[in-house]
Symmetry: C2
Subunit: 110 residues, 2 copies
């Protein structure tokens, strides 16, 4: 119950930064969806497929990302996503917005 509650809270907090995380990761390296999910899990940010796929599609439709298909040596082909210039610009704005929020919370908690 309390477990459930805090999980819910964490999920809420993640909500706001998920887009930011995706763009951040793609800023460093192109990646495909399953890969991103794995990395986020490692970073203790749990995301399920039903969340990520629509998100990537949304970002692509907004012109923040593009993708290309690449064959895999094992398994089906992968859809590698790449940040566009527009995506990079937005990422910079997100950096600023994130910094502001962190700062604000810091002040509120003192």
């Amino acid at each position: 119950m309390s477990e459930n509650n805090i999980e819910n809270i964490k999920s809420q907090m993640r909500r706001g930064v998920l887009e930011y995380c995706i763009l951040s990761m793609l800023d460093k390296n192109d990646a495909y969806a399953s890969e991103l999910i794995g990395k986020l899990k490692d970073a203790r940010i749990i995301v399920v497929e039903g969340t990520l796929y629509p998100l990537l599609t949304r970002q692509k439709n907004q012109g923040l990302l593009t993708y290309r298909w690449e064959e895999s040596s094992q398994g089906p082909p992968r859809k590698y996503y790449t940040l566009t210039d527009k995506g990079r610009d937005l990422l910079k704005e997100m950096d600023k917005a994130w910094g502001e929020i962190v700062e604000t919370i810091d002040i509120l908690r003192k």
Copy 2:
């Protein structure tokens, strides 16, 4: 258009921390809704009434808050909210969760 987009992003980011902000503020002082809205606005976290009132009611129903009515020298009576022990406990968990997320983003951005 781009303006709109970044505002949306900020709104999303706020989304995850709003509950946390409310409990944090009430941890320091009892307060009533309009007062909280004002303080959040000062902290550059914009929240409208239609967001805050249901949120406070939700937190109250979860046993995180209680309230009492107090007369005002000018204007209608005010509903002062107070953190419960349960609310304080949850706040501690939120502190931890928030710290983790900030740390994670920090790593992802490097």
